[in-house]
Amino acid sequence: MSDKNNIVRVSGVTKNFDLGKIVVKVLKGIDLEIKAGKYISIMGPSGSGKSTLFNMIGGLDKPTSGKVFIDEVDIAQLDAYELAWLRCRKIGYIFQTFNLIPVMTALENITIPMTFAGVSADDANKRGMKLLTQVGLDGRHSHRPSELSGGQQQRVAVARALANNPAIILADEPTGNLDQTTGEDIISLLKNMSLDRGVTIISATHDYKMLNVSDQVIWIRDGRIDKIQDRHELDIQTGGLGNAHETSARE
């Protein structure tokens, strides 16, 4: 197979949604290779299929055809047990709507994945507290999501995603429900985590603030890959965020 550095490989993935009378083709054949340790942004207008692609990569939904490999393992071949294990240990998820468990405190939300992974309660609490400190939520461990602001909830979600030291973090519009400054905080938090821990971060977004920190940007349009740009190309071609926006709008 291909070289070991490919943590995610997507080959010929299509996805159709059957809406009864019509079949909507959301993804029309995506081929993609993602190297370990990079910060990847999947960019595209809403309805372009980026969230769908994101769900395919994360094993949250099944492609109509094509294959998704994580660490060169075809995830369609995994049974329920192995898939759960993959979601628990290999991948950390961050959502636009935070999706914390409302009845649990910040610390409990972070330790659930560790419980699933078989970590003892003491160890889980210790690690959970450490993660809370790392995301800048010292002393908020006993607060419920309803007692935290949007930005703070997303920080808890970041800590939860990191709970089992995953190889990949998937973030679906992580800044979509946050204001400008809070969004920037979350982005830099993600970037730092990726640098410190060597985690691959894949984020579906249409937030241009993300471009600044991305190693690679994958532009999606109408269910196909429009273009893939590395960081240096981004700087040369667009020379700034505003231009990036215009360029993509013109194309």
């Binding site: 769900n55 994360g58 949250l60 939904d61 099944k62 329920a80 047990y81 192995e82 759960a84 294990w85 979601r87 628990c88 240990r89 998820y93 959502f95 999706n99 914390l100 468990i101 409302p102 009845v103 649990m104 659930i112 994945p113 419980t115 699933f116 992974a117 078989g118 309660a121 419920r144 939860r160």
Partner: protein, 216 residues
């Protein structure tokens, strides 16, 4: 590395209990419909038990007041005949019980689809989800069933004192009433489980995104 995904039973109990405690008001609404349904069933059954008990005391005046209260007595065997009307009332009370409880539990699972999807993303197996809901429903069923049975039994007794006078205390068929209460409590718990099992199994088998896509 062992590919282990686990949720210890003690942790499941803790999570289920916490879910009831934190969502106390919501759990109360679910449990309340359980209490009312079980109470209604117990009330009707206790009334029947009381009538049979009184009849066995053999007093003429009681036979008359039972007939006045609407019970049909077989003139030969001297037992309460379960008339069509009687059976209809018991059937109705059972129906209330079934519909009320199943509806309440269906709702309580449906409104937590997103939570279920999230737990699956974090690595929960389908059966963890089902187990959590089953424990929660059992706890609610036992608590609601107990309170309902107690409530229905007490009101049933009180109403027969009211109809037949306090002299009837001596003839209360305690064993039968206790059995009725136990039976109603078990039925309540069972229905609570049935009500939660179907939506929980459906939800746990969904792909995580489908569960999270459901509008809340």
């Amino acid at each position: 590395m062992s590919r282990l995904v686990a949720l210890p039973l003690s942790k499941s109990f803790q999570m289920a209990y916490q879910s009831i405690r934190v969502r106390f008001f919501r759990s109360l609404v679910t449990t309340m419909s359980l209490v009312l349904a079980v109470a209604f069933l117990t009330f009707i059954q206790t009334g029947n038990d009381m009538a049979s008990g009184l009849l066995q005391s053999g007093e003429q005046s009681i036979e008359r007041s039972l007939t006045q209260a609407g019970y049909d007595i077989d003139p030969i065997t001297k037992t309460i005949v379960s008339s069509a009307k009687q059976r209809w009332i018991v059937f109705l009370s059972l129906l209330t019980c079934v519909v009320g409880i199943i509806n309440a539990q269906l709702m309580s699972v449906t409104e937590r689809f997103r939570e279920i999807g999230t737990l699956k993303c974090l690595g929960a197996l389908d059966r963890f989800i089902v187990r959590l809901f089953v424990i929660e429903a059992t706890l609610q069923g036992l608590a609601g069933g107990f309170i309902g049975a107690l409530l229905g039994g007490l009101i049933g007794l009180a109403s027969s004192f009211f109809t037949f006078g306090f002299s009837t205390v001596a003839f209360i068929p305690w064993t039968n009433i206790c059995l009725t209460m136990l039976y109603a409590m078990c039925l309540g718990t069972f229905l609570s489980l049935i009500g939660v099992l179907y939506p929980a199994i459906v939800a746990s088998r969904m792909q995580p995104v489908e569960a999270m896509r459901v509008e809340q």
